[in-house]
C-alpha cells in the first residue's frame, strides 16, 4: 500500500497503548476502553465515530489536558505530562481571547514564551495573510464571523510551528459554504507544511477529504474499530467528493458508523 510505505511513517508521532479513560463522579463514565493507536509522523489522521464515543477525549489526552486512567500516551516517544506548545490545538469554538485583537491573538504564544518581536513578527504576518485576515489585523473576535474566528484559531497555531496539530471538530460549528472554504484552506496549508495532524470530526466526507488515514471509533466505551487508509492523490480539492473511490470509502466508513450507532441504541434499550 503506497500510503503506508512513506518514509515519514517509519517512526510514530503519537502512540496510545492500552489507554483507558474513566471520568469519575456519581456515575463514572468509561470514555475510552483499552485504546491502542499509532499515528505516523507527518500523517494527517482523522478520527470519526458516533457522538459521545470519546473522540475528543483522545485529543485531550494527547494535548495533555487530561490524564489517562491507565495506559500510556506518547508523543515523539516521550510520555505526555502537560499541555505544551509542541502540540497546537484548534478548538471547536476557536477559543480566542475576546480582549485581544486578531493580531494579538495570533502572536499570543510567541509573546507568552518571551520571543523577541523580530522572531515572530514577519512569520505571523505571513500566516495571517495565508488565512486571508490581513485586513482584520486590529479587529476584536466579537467583530468576526465564525469562519474568520476559526481562521485566527488556525493562524495562531501556525505561528507556534508545532510538531503536531490537534484539531477538535474545528469546522463543526460553521455553515456549509464556510466549511468548504476552510477545508480547502486546510488542505493547501497542509500540503505546504506536511505536519502531523489529528483531526476529530463527525463528518465522514470531511475526514476522507482531508486525511491520509481515518480511524473509526466504536460507541461508548470508545475503542478504535478500524483504520481506513485513504489513498486519494494529493493535492486534493473539494471536487473529490464525487470521485468513485471517495464514494466507496464513504460507504464503507458509513456502514461501520451506522453499525456502531445501532449498537448504542440496542444497548440503551
Amino acid at each position: 500500500m503506497a500510503g503506508e510505505n512513506r518514509t515519514e511513517m517509519t517512526s510514530d508521532a503519537i502512540n496510545l497503548t492500552s489507554v483507558t479513560k474513566i471520568f469519575g463522579g456519581a456515575k463514572p463514565v468509561r470514555a475510552l476502553d483499552n485504546v491502542d493507536l499509532s499515528i505516523g509522523k507527518g500523517q494527517f489522521a482523522a478520527i470519526v465515530g458516533p457522538s459521545g464515543c470519546g473522540k475528543s477525549t483522545i485529543l485531550n489526552l494527547v494535548a495533555g489536558f487530561e490524564k489517562p486512567t491507565s495506559g500510556d500516551v506518547r508523543v515523539d516517544g516521550k510520555p505526555v505530562r502537560a499541555p505544551g506548545p509542541d502540540r497546537a490545538v484548534v478548538f471547536q469554538e476557536a477559543a480566542l481571547f475576546p480582549w485581544l485583537s486578531v493580531w494579538e491573538n495570533t502572536i499570543f504564544s510567541a509573546k507568552a514564551r518571551g520571543q523577541p518581536k523580530s522572531a515572530y513578527e514577519h512569520k505571523a504576518r505571513q500566516f495571517l495573510a495565508r488565512v486571508g485576515l490581513t485586513d482584520f489585523h486590529d479587529h476584536l473576535p466579537t467583530q468576526l464571523s465564525g469562519g474568520m474566528k476559526q481562521r485566527v484559531g488556525i493562524a495562531r497555531t501556525l505561528v507556534m510551528e508545532p510538531h503536531l496539530f490537534l484539531m477538535d471538530e474545528p469546522f463543526g460549528a460553521l455553515d456549509a459554504q464556510t466549511r468548504i472554504d476552510m477545508q480547502e484552506l486546510l488542505l493547501s496549508v497542509w500540503d505546504e507544511l506536511r505536519r502531523t495532524v489529528v483531526f476529530i470530526t463527525h463528518d465522514v466526507d470531511e475526514a476522507i477529504l482531508l486525511a491520509d488515514v481515518v480511524f473509526v471509533m466504536s460507541a461508548r466505551p470508545g475503542r478504535i474499530r478500524s483504520r481506513v487508509p485513504i489513498e486519494l492523490p494529493r493535492p486534493r480539492s473539494v471536487d473529490l467528493i464525487t470521485d468513485p473511490t471517495f464514494i466507496a470509502l464513504k460507504r464503507d466508513i458509513f456502514n461501520q458508523i451506522r453499525h456502531e450507532a445501532h449498537a448504542v441504541r440496542t444497548a440503551a434499550n
Binding site: 499541555p83 506548545p85 481571547f97 475576546p98 480582549w99 504564544s109 514564551r113 473576535p141 507556534m160
Partner: protein, 280 residues
C-alpha cells in the same frame, strides 16, 4: 409596492429616531421637572410646614451662597465653604475607594484562581462580611479617633466586599477552553494570571467597582455623621441641628450628584478598558 412600503418603513424609522433624540430627552426630564414644579407650587401655596421643608428655589439660593458666598444678612457659617466641604468628602472617598480597589482586586483574583489562597483567606473574609459598616463605627473611632483615617477605613471596608466578590467570581468564570488555549500556547502560570485571568475578570471587577463606589459614598456620609468633623456628612447633620433645612437638602443633592458622577466616570473607564463587551 415593496418599494413604497420600504419608504414608509424608513420614514417611520426616521421619525422614531427623531423621537428618541429630542422627544426622548424631553420625556426623561418631564417627571423630575413636574415634581419640582409641584413642590415649588406647594411651597408657594403654604402647604409645606414653614421652616421645616424648603422649596426648590430656597434650596438653590442656599446652595449658591454655600458655594459662592458671601451671605446676605446675618451670620452664615456655610457661606462659600461648599468646595472645601466637597473636597474633604471626595478626598476620603478617593483614598478609601482606591485602597479598596488595590486590596480587593488582587485578593479576589487570587481567591478565585488559587484553591490554596481560597482556603487560606476566604473563611476569614467571609466571616467578617456580614458585619455592616455601620456596626464598625465604634470600633473605627476607638482605633482611629475622630480623624480622616476612620472615614477612610469605613469607606475601604464598605467598597472592599463587592469588589472582592465580583473579582473572585470573574476569576472563576474563565472558560475552560480559554485556559486550555493559553496552556497549549506555552503560557506560564504568571502569564495566564495577568494576561488571561485578569482581563477575563475585568467586566466582573467593574460591576463590583460600581457597586463599591455607591457604598463608598454612603460610607463617607455615615463616617462624617459620627466620626469626623468635616465633609458633606458632617454639614448634613450640623445644618439640621441649626435648622438650615435648605442647606440639608442642598447637601443631599450634592451627595447624589457626586455618586452619579462617580458612576459615570466608572462607566467611561469601563468602556475604554473593556472594549470587547457592550457596557450597559
Amino acid at each position: 409596492m415593496t418599494a413604497a412600503n420600504g419608504a414608509v418603513e424608513i420614514e417611520r424609522g426616521a421619525a422614531a429616531r427623531f423621537g428618541t433624540r429630542f422627544g426622548g430627552s424631553a420625556l426623561v426630564v418631564l417627571v423630575p421637572l413636574a415634581l419640582l414644579c409641584l413642590w415649588e407650587a406647594a411651597g408657594a401655596a403654604g402647604l409645606l410646614p414653614t421652616g421645616l421643608i424648603p422649596t426648590p428655589t430656597m434650596v438653590i439660593r442656599a446652595w449658591y451662597v454655600w458655594t459662592f458666598g458671601p451671605d446676605t444678612g446675618g451670620f452664615n457659617a456655610y457661606s462659600g465653604t461648599w468646595t472645601q466641604v466637597v473636597a474633604n468628602s471626595a478626598q476620603r472617598v478617593v483614598l478609601g475607594y482606591a485602597l479598596a480597589v488595590l486590596l480587593a482586586v488582587p485578593i479576589g483574583i487570587l481567591v478565585g484562581w488559587s484553591n490554596l489562597v481560597a482556603k487560606l483567606v476566604d473563611p476569614t473574609l467571609q466571616s467578617l462580611r456580614p458585619i455592616p459598616i455601620t456596626a464598625w463605627l465604634p470600633f473605627s473611632i476607638a482605633l482611629f479617633g475622630i480623624k480622616d483615617y476612620g472615614a477612610i477605613f469605613l469607606i475601604c471596608l464598605g467598597a472592599f466586599y463587592p469588589i472582592l466578590i465580583n473579582a473572585t467570581h470573574g476569576a472563576r468564570s474563565l472558560d475552560q477552553n480559554l485556559h486550555r488555549a493559553a496552556l497549549m500556547m506555552g503560557a506560564s502560570s504568571r502569564t495566564i494570571l495577568f494576561r488571561v485571568v485578569l482581563p477575563n475578570a475585568l467586566p466582573a471587577i467593574f460591576a463590583g467597582m460600581r457597586i463599591g463606589a455607591g457604598i463608598a459614598w454612603s460610607a463617607v456620609i455615615v463616617a462624617e455623621l459620627v466620626a469626623v468633623k468635616s465633609g458633606l456628612g458632617y454639614v448634613l447633620w450640623d445644618a439640621y441641628y441649626i435648622g438650615r433645612m435648605d442647606v440639608v437638602v442642598a447637601d443631599m443633592a450634592s451627595i447624589g450628584m457626586f455618586g452619579f458622577l462617580t458612576d459615570c466616570l466608572l462607566i467611561a473607564l469601563q468602556r475604554r478598558l473593556v472594549r470587547w463587551q457592550n457596557v450597559a
